[in-house]
Each structure stands twice: as structure tokens, then as C-alpha cells.
Amino acid sequence: MADYSWPIAGSRTTIGTDVTRIDTPLKVTGRAAYTTDVQAPGMLYAVTVGCPYAHAKIISIDTSAAEKVPGCKAVTVIQKPGTEIFWAGDDVVAVAAVDELSAQLAAKAVKVQYSELPHLVLDASPHPPDGFAQPMKPEVQGDPDGAFAKAAAVVQATYSMPVITHCCLEPHGSVVAWRSGALDVHISTQSVSGIVTQMSKALGVPASKIRVRAEFEGGGFGAKLAADRWGLAAAQLSKLAGGLPVRLIVNRRTEQETGGCRPSAYGTIKLSADAKGNLTGWESETWGTGGVTGGADFPVPYLFNVPNQRKQHTTIINNIGSARSMRAPRQPQACLLTMCALEDLAAKLGMDPLDLVLANIALTGPRAKIYQEEFSVAAKAMDWTKRWHPRGKGSAGPIRQGLGLSFHTWAGTAHPAACSLTINSDGSVAVSAGTQDIGTGTRTVMAIIAAETFGLQVGDIEIQVGDSSLSSSAGSGGSGTVGGMGSATRRAAVDALQALFAKIAPALHADPSKLKAAGGKVTDGQSTVTWKQACAAIGALPITARGVNPGAGALNDSGVGGVQMADVSVDVETGVVSINRLVAVQDCGLIINRKATLSQCYGALIMGVGYALFEEKIMDQNLGRMLNPNVEFYRLCGIGDIGTLEVHLMSGKGYDERGIVGCGEPPVISPGAAISNAVANAIGVRVPSLPLTPDRVLAALGVPS
């Protein structure tokens, strides 16, 4: 059987090096074609009519006036009279017209009558009115009351982080043509192959008649795994318009209100330790909302299996819009609640939080040793031991500096993936798959692995992704794309190379098992030919091989950890928090493209600064709507907000042998907690809620508003 295992350290030429992405030239020239850039002959423009109420029943829909608007070509009812609507902005009707202005006029002419129902869009109380809460059963482990009674120190406080939105820069949308019983779909998606199945089921079109494409995708972060009402409505409108392609791209307001959000988290946490700092008891009442779809539970206490626990969680089922998985779902919430309580306990014990964490590291289970190593790297980078000061005991001026820490874990399991690889007789190599590149660097990863296997350059490999007519692969979620596509590509490349060796061995009078491909040549140590000369022997039919991710084993694995430390300054007169430095130490198994891996870590840190300091989906209970469904009042992190970022990747012996483990998500878990802890260390009091805006900082300091 062929040996698919990764080349060992020292023999790798390309894997693990800093490789420049092969598709960036298309992005810097504006030539990369996203769904929003697709122009098709005869294309119609669709606009949706959303429900203005957070909770309502549709009484009647009258589309007759809309149909008469000049240029209007199709009207489809998405949700029929009698349907209950659970969030403002949910789509009820869609119209398609010859241009956007006509479509907007037609949408305005649609008349929908609603009967309003009681709504809730807030989440600050774990005990909302009847019908809005789903309490889960309390869980008890050991004797928490006994632990608290005997403890040397107990802290109790409430912490929270609000609902935030994915805020993808490319909004959700598609261009769909439904003609002759077949669907041709361009859609901004993280799941090219998965959309086929979804649309087939929803529209009754055989999967074999559906082609889905997403050559480039402008951000997903977990919000773009489904065809959504929008994709299905575009298809229906196209069918009604006789098969003309229909473009349905949602506007910014819809994207922010309904295009995806991350559940909130609140928790009243009680945590205790003995005099040596050993954690003894945990008690938590937690709650949060992800709208009507749930997903607002999270694993506390995070990482530490505190011996004695009592915990109870309530999911608030309210009318904010539906939550979607967002970059490491459930983890940032659990991490914030746990790590904040931990540093508060350290402060009460008069301990350095790093000492408290390390004293309890065995409670984190099998990853304890790696965390220890990562803390040691992070502490050195931050010069923690020298620079850390007890809470609130730094400089006395108006600018207070502080340090905070946090750590995290994530599975990063490789997802199901398949690819097709071709070696042509001219020496060219092509690899294709129905996967997608959402900023992951998928294309480059596949090219690196093929190039490594064949002893070629990355630029010698042609990659095609983003088309469901290619080998089916899973959606990009759970940080599984690099592991999945990487493993599939390796297997296909090894098989194709064996086939090539078998073909050329007779001419070289060589034993095919002795042949190796390296440095653009094929050799058995005695006879040597160039790659091109070798491929010339292929003949009329190219060599093709299919590679499938075999699952966890030699090529990929699950489970990574990371440690982060934050250095902040807080202006106690204005309440403004600035990031001085963030240090992130992350393990991620075998690194394929070091440059892109670092970029993922930087990007996650920056997204982390965003949700720590700025981001919040602000809801108004009277209106039932989001007050900041835009980008100027839904503030993202800017280039001036990031401080200095330092990323250390744990690689080499002891890490590489595990194969690939995904790392796109985990570094986004810790920044909220690390930054909140650093602010508490700086100003001497805890700011209990994210984002750490000036008003919240001043309120925590007791400055009257």
C-alpha cells in the first residue's frame, strides 16, 4: 500500500514554509469575481419585503399593485398568510424587476397586513416573561456548598457579552437561473457542495441538475452555510420569470439584522479556591440568547474541571433574529465567563493569575502539558513575571496599564473532503475540488501539498475550487478545510505519483518503488529525468487520481490549544481602552502554509479586539428592531485599534507528527477574556460586560454619567 504519511521534518521543501497565496493577485486587481460581481445576460434584480415587527402573524398579502409596476417581472410569496414571523426583517415577499430601482418600487407596492404579537428582544434577565425562556436542568458534581464553606477565598460576580453580528462584508446573496429543469446558482457561500443538497431538497430539483459556484466569497465566519430563504426565493423568481437569471443580494440593513448573529452570554459565577489556590468550587447561573434558534448554551467552567460544581443554564428564546454558528461557536462565551472569574479569584487571593492557572492546570485534562508550554512561551514574550503588577497597583496617572491572560481549545477536525488530481503528458498538474476558499487559503494549501509531493513549485500546480461540479467536499466550518482538503490532496498526489512511476520505470530500467520526485526531477539515484520528460511517457490519457480524506489518523488530528496575553492602557478620565500588545501562542499540528496560518491568527486577534471593545447588536424593545444595522454604528475594529500583535505557532517535533489540525477559529476565543482581564488589572475593578466601551469603563470606575 502506498505511503501517504507527510514527509518528515527536514525533508519538506514547501510544507510549513511561508508561501504567498496564489489567488491574491486576482484580489488586489479587482479581478476576483464574487457573487455580487456576477453579471448575466437578461439578469433581473430582486428585492425582498421584510416584516417590520419582531413578532407577528401574517394576515394577508396583496401583490397585485407590485405586479403592475413597470419592469416588474416576477413576485413570489416567501411566507404565506397565517405564518408566524419571529424576527423583524424576516422576508415575506420577493420581487424581481429589470433593474434595482424598479424592483425597489415593486417591493414598496407590496401590501402585507400583520397582527402584532408580544415580542422580546432583550436578554439581560434570566427570568423573562413566560414563553421566552427555556431553563435547562441544573447539573451538580461533587459538593459545591461544602467547597464554598471550606474555601480560603470565594468570588461571585456577573459577567456578560452581547449578541454580535457576523457582519460579512459581502452580504448574503445569489444569482440563480432556473431553466429547462436545471438550476445554475452563483451564491456567496461557505458550502459549495452542500448548497446542492439543500436546494435539491427544498425545490424538488434533482441534485444532478444543480450547479453551484462560488469562485470567491467575501467573508462568512459561519453565517453562510445555507441556501437561506434568499437563495430559494431567487430560484423561484427565476422560474416565474421564464428562467431569466435573478440576482438577490441583501442590503446592509438586512445583512446586519438577519444575516447572522452570535448568541449572547451572561453568567453569575461563584468560584472558590483553597489557601494554595487550588480551585475547589464552581457555581453558575448562566443565560444567553440566539433568538428563536437556540444555540445559546456554552461549556462552563471552560477548560477546568473544577471538582465541585453546580450549574444551571437558561436559553432565552426571543425575537432578535436567528443565530448562526460564528467562528468557534460557544467558546468565546464560556471562555469569558470562566477566565474573568478566575482572574477575579486570583485578585482576591492576592495571587498572580498565571500562578493560579498553572496551579490548576491538571484540571484541564490531557492538554495540560501543552498549555503549560504555551504559557511559558507567552509569559516570556510578554515579559509577564517582570511586568505584571497586582490588580490596580500600576502607575497612578490618568493612563493605567495592565496585563491579562486567557486560554482556549478547539477541535479543528478535518472535514469530509475529496479532490481530483490530473498529471498531463506536458507535465502540467491540476487539482480540483468542490470546496471553497473563504479567505482560508484553500487553493494555496492544495497547491503546496501537490507541489511537495511531486517535487515541483507551488506555481506549477493549477487549482480549481468553488464549483459543485467538482468532487464534493464539506462546507468550511469547524476549521476543517485545510485538514480535509490537505489530506485528500496528499492521497491523490501520492497515488498519481505511483501511477507515473509505474509508467516510466521500464524506460528508465528502474524499480518503480525506488523512484523519487524532487527538485523538478524524477530519479532512482542512477537514472534521472526531468519532471517534464517523465510526464512525456504518460501517453494520450492523462493520469488521474481521486483523493479522499480518510479521517483522523496519520494525516490529520483533532484538538488544539492556545494561550493569549493582553497588554492594555486605559484612560480613566475618558474610559477609552487601547490595546498595547496581544501575544497569542497557538498550536495547530502540522502547519501547511505558515504565512496564511499566521494571517488567520492575526485576523482572529483583530476580530477579538472588535468584540472586546466595540461590537454589539443593539436592540430596541419598543421597536423590536436593531438600532445599528449598518457599519458606522456597528463598529468594527479598524487599523488604528490593533496595537502590536505577536503570534507564536507551536510547531516542530511533538506537534507536526499529529498531522493537520485546523486553526482558523481557536485564536478568536481568548481575546475577549484576556482584554477584559487586562482592563481589570489596569484600573483595579472589573468592567463586567463586553464590549469595553468608555461608558462601561467609567461606570465600573464609579464615575457618574
Binding site: 460581481d37 467575501g218 465566519f221 510547531s651
Partner: protein, 172 residues
């Protein structure tokens, strides 16, 4: 001048080419570039002058093309990202973005490129602080700022250190 509301004829100078377009006067420059001229490098994201994804140059200055009307841009020289590498050869700034991995999903990238083009024309040797002030009108959701800063510092006539204090740790 015919101010509509129906389509009127407007003349634009885009990437050194005269363009005659029939369009409603309510259309923004961004809508006309994307929908009428097929220049889809500039992107519509916030649609209200916050994120910079639609940045183009108007008489050499950075402008949010979502926030001016095409009809008001008639006497100006308009440059879009498509003007920078007409034969496919990347200019120095584009190459610097590629080398520094200053793009992930890439949706904000054309806006950043145009913004940085004008920024560097005004300040050929920017410091880190200059970049953080001068490039704050563009937003990225993937978080490519460290790469962007490195790209711009590499363009600087006097090289400086970047925000990315990268030191990937190797064991064994």
C-alpha cells in the same frame, strides 16, 4: 442639465477613457461603475461612507464612490482598481499586498489598494502611526490590518518595523 428622474445622458472619464452612460441621476458613482461599466473591483458594503470598500480616486483623491452621484463626477478624472494593472502586471503596491498576505477573503482589498495608492502619493515614507491614521477610512472583517501595515511599510522610502512582531516558534 436634465435631472431626471428618468435616465439622462452623463459623460464620465474613467481610467482615461471617455464613457457616455444613460442612467438615472439618482445612481451613485459606485452603482454606475459596477452596473453600467462592469468595473466590479470597487465593492458595495456599508453603502454610506464608512467602510471604504468602494474607494476610487477622483482627481487623485480618495473618494467613497457609494457617496457621490455619478452625475456629479462628470468633470473629474476617475480611477478604479482596474486601472492599476491593465496588462495584468501588478504594480509595486499590489505586489507588496501579495507578499505581505494583506488579503484574506479579499472583498475589502480593492478599496484598500485604491486608498493606499492615494495615501502613498501624499506620503511616500509613512510611519506606522501615519498608516494607522491615514488608512483608518477602510475596514476589513477578516483582520488583515497587520499585513496591510507591513505592505505599506515595505513601500516606504525609509523602512520601519511593522505591527506584526512575528516570530513563529520552532521546537526541536
Amino acid at each position: 442639465m436634465d435631472l431626471g428622474p428618468g435616465p439622462v445622458s452623463i459623460q464620465l472619464n474613467v481610467n482615461n477613457q471617455a464613457q457616455s452612460i444613460n442612467c438615472e441621476p439618482c445612481l451613485t458613482l459606485l452603482q454606475v461603475l459596477r452596473e453600467k461599466l462592469g468595473l466590479t473591483g470597487a465593492k458595495q458594503v456599508c453603502d454610506r461612507a464608512t467602510c471604504g470598500a468602494c474607494t476610487v480616486l477622483v482627481n487623485g483623491k480618495r473618494v467613497y464612490s457609494c457617496s457621490i452621484l455619478a452625475i456629479d463626477a462628470q468633470d473629474a478624472k476617475i480611477e478604479t482598481v482596474e486601472s492599476l494593472a491593465p496588462d495584468g502586471t501588478l504594480d509595486a503596491l499590489q505586489q507588496a499586498f501579495v507578499a505581505a498576505d494583506a488579503s484574506q477573503c479579499g472583498y475589502c482589498t480593492p478599496g484598500f489598494i485604491m486608498s493606499a495608492t492615494a495615501f502613498l502619493a501624499d506620503n511616500p515614507s509613512p510611519t506606522k502611526e501615519d498608516i494607522r491614521k491615514g488608512m483608518c477610512g477602510n475596514l476589513c472583517r477578516c483582520g488583515t490590518y497587520a499585513g496591510i501595515e507591513e505592505a505599506l511599510l515595505s513601500m516606504s522610502k525609509t523602512p520601519k518595523t511593522s505591527a506584526m512582531a512575528t516570530e513563529g516558534r520552532k521546537r526541536g
